[in-house]
């Protein structure tokens, strides 16, 4: 019924949505959307280096974004700049370095649009393996540290006082965020990954009244967004990454209309 490439895209996309669901909730709760943007922009540099040294894209992105994340965490303690200024500084400078390097690597053909916005229809079996295997590892670690990371998200002092080791779980969470960007970059693109993290979770927020529900709903909404996005991409011949995000946005808008009253009550 469908072509192989489409089935592969669907399997990969659903795998990504399952991982971005819970991580997206944490990104929203901890107000880290700009942090996610910075990491994904720096991922472009990782991709460039992957081409330059012919290593695996996910691995290279994980290393580069990981370095950026750790740089950011250590700079935050040392400079007098506000967090958002630091994020902007690192996001744009790593993006710029990536683009400059692409210029130097003129011998290699780049699909720049694909890097920035994703190329979900060029997913290989190997990509599916990386997404599902990497995704399971990320989810497994997240499950293991959930209590600690959740307590630290609600209140750092409470978590620290009551033995939840918030610094350790914050650090691991940052690496998991880098991990999800690394496995989904090729499909969704450097500029749109944060969208897939945020939009399903934001939609789930107005529909849920407890944290567990919000996580489950954001996974389901993410899966639905991927499916609608991919089908419409096939139907209308549009770019797949942006189609998924637009589908997510439509779901978000729909979630606001009939449930507006109940979400107001919850506050």
């Amino acid at each position: 019924m469908f072509d192989d490439f489409f089935i592969r895209a669907l399997i990969a996309g659903i795998g990504i949505a399952i991982v971005t669901g819970p991580l997206g909730c944490l990104v929203i709760w901890r107000r880290l959307s700009y942090f996610g943007d910075t990491l994904s922009h720096s991922a472009l540099l990782g991709v460039t280096l992957a081409y330059a040294f012919s290593i695996n894209i996910s691995l290279s992105v994980f290393i580069i974004s990981g370095i950026v994340a750790l740089t950011l965490l250590s700079l935050q303690k040392r400079t007098k700049l506000a967090g958002d200024s630091l994020l902007g500084l690192l996001a744009h400078s790593t993006l710029a370095i990536g683009l400059v390097l692409i210029g130097f690597l003129s011998s290699i053909r780049f699909d720049l649009m694909g890097l920035l916005f994703g190329d979900i229809l060029a997913v290989t079996i190997e990509d599916i393996f990386i997404i599902w295997f990497g995704g399971l590892i990320i989810l497994g670690i997240l499950y293991y540290i959930w209590k600690s990371i959740f307590a630290a998200t609600v209140n750092y002092d409470l978590a620290a006082a009551e033995g939840m080791k918030p610094d350790v779980s914050n650090f691991i969470f940052t690496l998991l965020l880098v991990g999800v960007i690394a496995i989904s970059l090729k499909m969704i693109g450097a500029l749109l990954i944060t969208g897939l993290l945020l939009i399903p979770a934001a939609t789930a927020r107005s529909l849920s009244n407890n944290p567990f529900q919000m996580v489950i709903l954001s996974i389901l909404i993410g899966i639905v967004s991927v499916m609608i996005g991919l089908f419409s991409s096939l139907e209308f011949n549009t770019a797949s990454g942006p189609s998924i995000i637009v589908a997510g946005l439509v779901l978000f808008i729909l979630s606001l209309i009939p449930f507006k009253r109940s979400s107001a009550l919850q506050r």
């Binding site: 709760w29 609600v154 002092d157 409470l158 978590a159 620290a160 009551e162 033995g163 944290p211 919000m214």
Partner: protein, 246 residues
């Protein structure tokens, strides 16, 4: 009196931030079943001292040691982001796996058992404070740190909660560190008062502290007299309505 277990001991402890000492030279200990109170003006380092004990802040000088295994904390300021859907029941389970019976029991003790499924963000200040206290005692800690625990609670509730705190120290056999401005409670109930102002100004039993010149300098002559008046020999306790309990 039997020998009580030492829960936490501070030896000459201090915290240094942005080129000044927030507190310095703090030495005291908290034993099982003891209520130790920190008093002092704003910015005198009460919360900082509590955070040293809870290991939220590392000491830059001195030592914090102890045998307290399970600590529970009622922070002075806490705000829950409305981006998170969080019910009272979820909040109760934040740092420990409590069953519904334990949750209900402690919420009933602080008088907010009906709010179990309410969103945390919909609670009033006083209700939230009661939930915070319930969450801390539900853990059955061996050291309980309460930083102005009854702020925003109505007058009647305040007395009930202070009585509850007193009961908990007996029933759970835990040590309690209390930061409070309620001199009446401090003077009538606590075993040991520490008067802070960046360092320990004076400390001892409530009756000895109010006579200390350092204390009088910090809180004024008038306050000292008022408080001395309070510590008439309390050989009885009061019910919530003020009548003498048998």
């Amino acid at each position: 009196m039997e020998q009580k277990k030492l829960l936490v001991k501070l030896e000459n402890a201090g915290v240094h931030r942005s080129s000044k000492w927030l507190v310095r030279g703090i030495s005291f200990e908290i034993n099982q079943g003891q209520i130790v109170t920190l008093i002092g003006p704003n910015g005198s380092g009460k919360t900082t001292t509590a955070k040293m004990i809870l290991k939220i802040l590392n000491t830059d000088e001195g030592l914090v040691t102890g045998n307290a295994k399970k600590m529970a904390y009622v922070p002075q300021k806490i705000s829950i982001d409305w981006t998170m859907p969080l019910r009272v029941i979820d909040f109760m389970k934040l740092t420990s796996n409590l069953n519904n019976h334990q949750i209900n029991e402690s919420l009933t003790m602080t008088g907010v058992d009906k709010l179990l499924y309410n969103q945390i963000n919909s609670l009033s200040g006083g209700e939230f404070q009661r939930v915070l206290i319930a969450r801390a005692i539900a853990k059955k800690p061996d050291l309980l740190v309460l930083d102005e625990p009854v702020q925003g609670v109505d007058f009647k509730g305040e007395i009930a909660l202070y009585n509850l705190i007193k009961e908990i120290s007996v029933s759970l056999k835990c040590g309690i560190l209390l930061i409070s401005h309620d001199m009446h409670f401090v003077m009538s109930t606590t075993n040991h008062v520490i008067c802070l102002n960046g360092h320990i100004c004076c400390s001892g039993t409530p009756s000895s502290v109010v006579k200390n010149p350092e204390y009088i300098k910090l809180f004024g002559e008038h306050n000292s007299e008022t408080l001395s008046y309070y510590q008439h020999n309390h050989d009885h306790s009061h019910n919530n309505d003020g009548s003498v309990a048998s």
